[in-house]
Each structure stands twice: as structure tokens, then as C-alpha cells.
Symmetry: C2
Subunit: 205 residues, 2 copies
DNA sequence: TGTACATCAGTGAACGCGCGTTCACTGATGTAC
DNA sequence: TGTACATCAGTGAACGCGCGTTCACTGATGTAC
């Protein structure tokens, strides 16, 4: 536990953490500077010692999220190697696992309406995780005969879209929500069928 | 053009239309009662002659959206008949077409955070469009040998998720957005590969 | 057709609230000597 | 080790603003006779 007297010790991170909790609870637009400050036991004005404003705080939360996300994707990819197929599947699963485990980060990254271009660090971190999936797709596409091989960036876009859709529709526990299957199963089976469609899995395995 | 004197003529719908435009422009949480009133050339207080409050206005917008959406899905389904495959593919395309053509409605329906349970009419209208896709999936699943036939509600969930993901990620024209392929092509090809994976399309056709 | 009146869709002013942000300040901390 | 001082992370009060909503009201409309 960090010290706490008049000076906080690590207020910047405490504010980011508070913002993440708030975003998780009420969505990106339900989050307010004042409430984040309150949760960090600090006056609203103190926020401006560490951030230019509300948007900068959200951007920092998103940045941290992209870094974690990128790491997870890299590890998933590495664990699946040397099988191109296993690596590709693992990155898909990592997407959902991240959304589950870091919902505040996820929302800051993908649902806040914040542009990644706001800040070069953010743009870089965002590009990195996307790059991992594209790399995995690239390796996978080499297992398809060259004459009828669709572009690898298409695979990654498909899986990214499917993953995102599953998260948005079947992961949010809205009251009265439809949840026919666990999201993990839905994504796993969806990707499985998709890969079979690409001819990368045997029809009956 | 409706008359306009002291009385508006059709203020209720004018407010819904204004709300839809605003939501389209600034997102569901960027929309305000005051601005919707202004766009309809009316005092904010007038809104309360027709709606209980802000939320009720959004709910009405979402309701109208679900009705249009349901109709589109039904028509797409009917046009694809009697081919189960064509009908299924058509409903997928209809999803994206709706999101393109009625972005305000789409956002009110799927991005406003509004629960469909708020209002029985809304719940009904929302269930209807989902039902069409499920019906299409049901018919399709009968073309798969019964012993290795996954549940039809899974197909519809997969396609729904893929469609939603494509809309969210590749349809919103954010500055600096990644748009490797037209969303329509992405969805079309994704569903194609998926259906091949189900064994419903010939590998090389 | 003309008048009296009920209905009701709008107005305009006001409310309390919480927001993001600013400012001069003060108290704690760390460093130089 | 002790004192003087610069640094700086926090405070507390205040700002202007736009929000959703309420209220008593008024002017237009439609109907009964």
C-alpha cells in the first residue's frame, strides 16, 4: 500500500484506476472527472496536475489497455506457435479473454468514441495489437493454395469483427439480455466453422 | 409539408426525427432534449407534451427503428425463399444495409444502452427481427445431416455477431479509421466462408 | 353562418444540479549549505 | 545534524454553462348550439 499523507503518492495511476472502474460501471460517457477524483480521495482540481483534461484521462486509460491487450495478443500468438492454426485461434480467444478481464480498458479503447489519433503513443499501441492478429493471419494464409488464397488482412478483419460482435452482444450482462450460449463457446465455434470454411480444418475433425 | 402555425402539426414525429439526426451526428449520449426541441423549432418544454422524458424519446426512436428493421429482415427473407441458403444470406446483408441506411435508428437500437425491456412494444419489436434471422437459420440447419447439426440459434448468433462487429468496426467513418475493405464485401465474404465451413456451399463454387 | 366555450399544444421563465475547468493558495517534501 | 528555501502536489472556492424538468400561462383549434 502506498503512503498517503497530504501528498497522494501515486495519484496519476489512482485516477486512471478510478476512471477504469467508473467506465466499467457506467460506460465511457457516464464517467466524470469529479467522480474519478472523489474515488481517489482527492479534489477535482487535483486531476489537472496530472492530466490536461477529461479526454486525456480517458486516453491514458485506453493507452494502458492497448498495452495490456498487445501483450496478451503477443503471448497468445507465441503460445500457439509453431502451428499457424493454433496461433491464429489463440489470438481470437485472447481478444475475448481481454474483454472479459479488463472491461473498463476495453470500453475505453473501443466504445469511448475516442480517436486513436489523438496521441501518437495511443496510435502506436493500437496498431501493435492489430498487427499481431494480422501476422497470425498472414502465416495462416500460406497454408492455402496460392491461386485461391484470399488476402490475409481479410481473415484478421473477419475474426476481429466476429470477436467484437460477440463481446458487444453476448458479453454485456444487460437485464433481459439474450445469452443463448456462453460467449466463449460462441466465439470458439464461430471461428472453428470459419476456419473449416477456409479449408484449414478437416471437415470432420 | 405539414402546416405550421402556433400548433406544430406533427411535433411528436418531428422530435423523433430530430433525435435521430442528432444521434447519428453525435451518438446517443450526445443527444439532448433541448437540442432536439430546437431543431423542431419548439421550446424544450413542448417535448413533455409528447414524451415522458428524454429516455422515452430515445425509446420511441429505437421502436421505430426495430419496426423498419423487422420489415427489412422479413422482406429479405421472403425474397430469398424458397432457397434456405439464399434467404439466410439475404438477412445477413439486410442487417448491414439497415445500419447503413438508418444509422440514427441503428445507434438508438444497439448503442444507446437502452434496455429493450423498458417498454413492451419495444421488447416485442426487438424480438421480431431477431426471430426472422432465427427462422432463416432453422430452415438452413435442416440441410445439415441431423447427427452433426449444431443448434440453429448458434448460426444466427454467429451471423448477428459478425454483422454487428463489421458495422461497429468498419462502417463508422472515424478519422484515421482502418477500412481495409468495404464493409459489404467483408460481411459477404465472411458469411460465405462461414457457410462453406458448415458444409452448405461447395468448396470451390 | 355566427358565437361561446372547452380542449389542448405550445410558450417563457425558472429551478436545482452537476459538470469541466481556473485560480490563488498552502502545506509537505526534498535539497543545499 | 540543523536550518533556509525552492519545488510542487494538493486544497477550496468559484466560474459559467447546459442540462432535464416543472409550472402557470396563453393562444389556436374544433365543436355545440
Amino acid at each position: 500500500m502506498p503512503k498517503r499523507g497530504y501528498h497522494h503518492g501515486n495519484l496519476k495511476q489512482a485516477l486512471v484506476d478510478a476512471a477504469l472502474k467508473l467506465i466499467e460501471e457506467k460506460g465511457p460517457s457516464g464517467f466524470t472527472v469529479a467522480e474519478a477524483a472523489k474515488r481517489a480521495d482527492v479534489t477535482p482540481a487535483a486531476v489537472y496536475r496530472h492530466f490536461e483534461g477529461r479526454e486525456a484521462l480517458i486516453a491514458e486509460a485506453a493507452l494502458q489497455g492497448h498495452r495490456i491487450f498487445g501483450d496478451l495478443m503477443e503471448h497468445a500468438y507465441a503460445d500457439g506457435q509453431p502451428s499457424a492454426l493454433a496461433a491464429f485461434e489463440a489470438t481470437g480467444r485472447a481478444y475475448l479473454a481481454f474483454a472479459r478481464k479488463f472491461p473498463g480498458h476495453y470500453m475505453a479503447m473501443f466504445e469511448s468514441g475516442l480517436s486513436n489519433q489523438i496521441n501518437p503513443d495511443l496510435a502506436l499501441a493500437a496498431a501493435r495489437s492489430q498487427g499481431v492478429l494480422e501476422k497470425a493471419a498472414e502465416a495462416l494464409s500460406e497454408h492455402i493454395p496460392a491461386d485461391r488464397r484470399p488476402p490475409a488482412s481479410m481473415f484478421s478483419a473477419h475474426v476481429w469483427a466476429l470477436s467484437h460482435g460477440v463481446v458487444e452482444l453476448y458479453t454485456r450482462g444487460q437485464p433481459g439480455a439474450k445469452a443463448p450460449f456462453p460467449a466463449e463457446d460462441l466465439l470458439e465455434s464461430g471461428i472453428g466453422i470459419y476456419l473449416r470454411g477456409l479449408g484449414l480444418i478437416k471437415p470432420d475433425s
